[in-house]
């Protein structure tokens, strides 16, 4: 599989190592490693889930971060990086932004988790309902999983139907119904009625709706496809039209899981950016610039069903994240909003693609400019991604090899310029090491 056709890919297909060895980097990450060894004794996997060292390139990335400011992160050993993961997208106006932290910390001193909700909950709900296109009500939760699980549950309860349709490779959270923990016990229960189709494939989607006719509660999609380990895909107009047409005909709800993109594409929601009209929207990540809060937004038609749900969680109504969310929305607009994110992202995208080409690579940045991800067309197995991102990390730039990146409003033109300077050198190193490896 994955046959490669050109000289560069031939070398990529015969790997010997990804740049410098882990051992050579040990001293740079000595504290991270020491913590990790301790963690492995008391925490399953040491670091679990998407933050696991195996998801990065061990030896080139830190395992523990101690602090951050603006666009920079600092690891447990004191190494500094320009950050393009932004707390997996949760940072949008910069780490430690005083416009957000100021009011949030002030509320923390006054009281965060109280018996009853803080008035900020009402203000935030009003703000979001006014801002997010087509939405009439809001329910606050903590993680994206809470929101997507609640959304699909409400859709099921309202329709009285079981089947959830999702795109192959899409991430909607870590609950049993949507996680990659495909143990048979879950397959026979929570995952039994979840069906998948290849993203943007209208025929496959039509076939699935036909096969499950009368049983479909909802279709859940991210506003565009951002699977891990693969280039990102924007929706085709034919696909979005089919989604809305099929949902309408079936009487199934259309859910846009906007947790990840969340205000990075459009201040009125990513569905506005792609001109689609969902019944339910989940948002999170950057909503409060890293303070823990997510939200499920819905249309009037689902208000009654949502009202009949017993929705609760110990921390779901804590005040600080709500205060932070209100401040983040203000700060995003003050800092230039989506237009600036797109502009910075475009400079990065063009620069990386052009530098890659100069060095002889078919490097391609996919996805919207504000949420870019670099892959190499000649290497779908991602050896080159891993080497490139390792080389960038060696140069003080944190770009994830397997997960899309994020631009934040704290990134400056100087950050982008420094990143491209590092990329020039990283591509050269990559090119040179591949030339050496060729027989």
């Amino acid at each position: 599989m994955n046959e490669m056709t050109d000289e560069t890919s031939g070398a990529a297909g015969s790997p010997s190592s990804s740049g410098r060895s882990a051992g050579a980097q040990d001293s740079r990450f000595a504290a991270s490693m020491a913590y990790f060894e301790r963690a492995a004794r008391v925490i399953p996997g040491g670091i679990y889930g998407s933050k696991s060292p195996g998801f990065l390139v061990p030896g080139h990335f830190p395992y523990y971060l101690s602090r951050a400011r603006g666009s920079r992160i600092y690891d447990a050993d004191g190494n500094e990086f320009i950050d393009y993961l932004c707390g997996y997208g949760s940072q949008i106006v910069g780490y430690g932004n005083p416009a957000v932290d100021g009011p949030a910390l002030e509320q923390a001193r006054k009281g965060d988790l109280l018996n009853q909700p803080h008035p900020a909950m009402v203000e935030l709900a009003e703000r979001l309902v006014g801002l997010v296109d087509g939405m009439d009500w809001a329910v606050f939760v903590k993680n994206g999983t809470d929101a997507t699980t609640l959304a699909t549950s409400i859709a099921r309860a309202d329709t009285g139907k079981q089947v959830i349709i999702a795109a192959e490779g899409a991430y909607h959270g870590a609950a049993n119904w949507c996680s990659t923990n495909v143990f048979p016990v879950f397959l026979q229960a929570e995952q039994r009625d979840v069906r998948f189709f290849p993203y943007n494939d209208v025929q496959a989607l039509e076939a699935l709706f036909e096969a499950e006719r009368g049983n479909i509660a909802c279709l859940i999609l991210t506003p565009y496809h951002h699977p891990t380990y693969k280039p990102q895909q924007l929706p085709t107009p034919e696909f979005t039209a089919a989604v809305e047409r099929l949902c309408r005909a079936e009487g199934a709800y259309f859910i846009v899981d906007d947790i990840r993109a969340n205000f990075r594409l459009d201040m009125h929601g990513s569905h506005k950016f792609f001109s689609v009209h969902p019944d339910l929207i989940t948002m999170g990540k950057a909503l409060a610039n890293g303070y823990p809060i997510s939200v499920l937004l819905g249309t009037d038609g689902l208000r009654k069903t949502a009202s009949s749900f017993f929705i609760t969680g110990t921390y779901w109504m804590s005040a600080v994240p709500m205060i932070a969310a209100l401040a983040t929305l203000d700060e995003m607009e003050r800092m230039g909003g989506t237009a600036r994110l797109a502009e910075l992202g475009r400079v990065l995208k063009d620069g990386l693609e052009s530098l890659g080409l100069e060095a002889g690579f078919r490097a391609r940045v996919s996805g919207p400019p504000a949420i870019p991800y670099l892959t190499f067309d000649e290497d779908p197995d991602l050896y080159l991604n891993q080497r490139f991102c390792a080389a960038m990390a060696d140069r003080g730039v944190f770009m994830h090899p397997h997960h899309n990146w994020f631009i934040s409003l704290a990134h400056s033109e100087e950050d982008i310029a420094r990143t491209l300077e590092a990329a020039r050198s990283a591509f050269a190193e990559l090119s040179s090491s591949l030339a050496t490896e060729r027989p």
Binding site: M1, N2, E3, M4, G13, S14, P15, S17, S18, S21, A22, G23, Q25, D26, M33, F36, E37, A40, G45, G46, I47, S52, P53, G54, F55, P58, G59, Y63, T180, V182, P184, L187, Q191, T228, Y229, P380, D381, L382, Y383, Q386, H402
Partner: protein, 274 residues
């Protein structure tokens, strides 16, 4: 939680029996190739035999060449069938307990094949456990056991969905000079053994380089034999070894990570009490 054999479903009993039989055969094969003592007692024409387990699918074959043979030797017809009347008997015997097994001679050399198989099985266990076994040999046996174990259980229904979401491809597995290739396609895993340290090859055997290096979608490499032994014997957590750089994965990570999940299932099978 330990599971007892009697608690297994019919399919699980079948998978476990084939797994145990497959591991026994591959351990004999690897030990025979790596151990000079076994080579000395290997019958002059090599050993060819089968293991049959009623209720567990087609018989499994073993070919052990005498190293002095000029390679490639054509596969010989089996001279012996070791027949187990049921899956429990096979699991018991291959777990070191007493169980019914019927040796069925199929041709000349049946008894020498049986004698060799017994000695080689015992020697393989000894090589795995003895502290003075060369690290390369122990690593090789452990890797073979792990990878052929994956191959043996990949098709079971418990793993069906897992195998569906793991991308197809070939993973190179390396520790020092040990090299295997693990090809995942659909619901099957096929292990290919490349040149191993200690393999006594005839003088006219083609060098490894001349066979070309196929494309690998992912590479799983251990920093050395000791790392492989520690991780594969459970002495060192794989995740810690990965974090510390003793184990390195490159390329199509979901392929390797998907196989880790199959590995969890293998551990479960190997923990079943007879």
């Amino acid at each position: 939680m330990k599971t007892k054999f009697m608690q297994l479903s019919t399919e699980e009993k079948r998978v476990l029996a084939r797994l145990k039989a497959s591991l026994a055969l591959h351990m004999v094969e690897e030990a025979s190739a790596a151990d000079a003592g076994l080579q000395k007692i290997c019958p002059s024409g090599g050993v060819s035999m089968k293991l049959g387990i009623r209720g567990a699918g087609p018989a499994l074959g073993l070919q052990v060449p005498k190293i002095s043979q000029i390679l490639p030797a054509p596969p010989r017809r089996p001279s012996l069938l070791l027949f187990f009347p049921n899956t429990e008997a096979a699991v018991r015997v291959f777990s070191g307990a007493k169980g019914a097994v019927i040796p069925v001679p199929l041709g000349a050399g049946a008894f020498s094949a049986l004698a060799f198989f017994r000695k080689a099985s015992s020697r393989a266990t000894e090589l795995l456990r003895a502290p003075d076994t060369a690290e390369a040999t122990r690593a090789r046996l452990l890797l073979a056991a792990t990878l052929y174990g994956l191959e043996a259980i990949a098709g079971e229904s418990y793993l069906e969905r897992r195998m569906q979401i793991v991308p197809d491809g070939v993973v190179g597995v390396r520790a020092g000079e040990i090299a295997f290739r693990v090809a995942k396609k659909g619901r099957t895993i096929h292990v290919q053994r490349d040149a191993q340290p200690g393999d006594a090859l005839p003088e006219d055997a083609p060098p490894a380089a001349a066979t070309g290096s196929p494309h690998l979608d992912a590479l799983l490499s251990f920093a050395g034999y000791r790392s492989a032994i520690d991780v594969l014997s459970g002495k060192r957590q794989a995740v810690v070894a990965l974090g510390s750089g003793e184990v390195h994965i490159e390329g199509l990570l979901p392929l390797v990570q998907g196989l880790f999940a199959v590995l969890d299932r293998l551990s479960w099978y190997l923990g079943v009490e007879v």
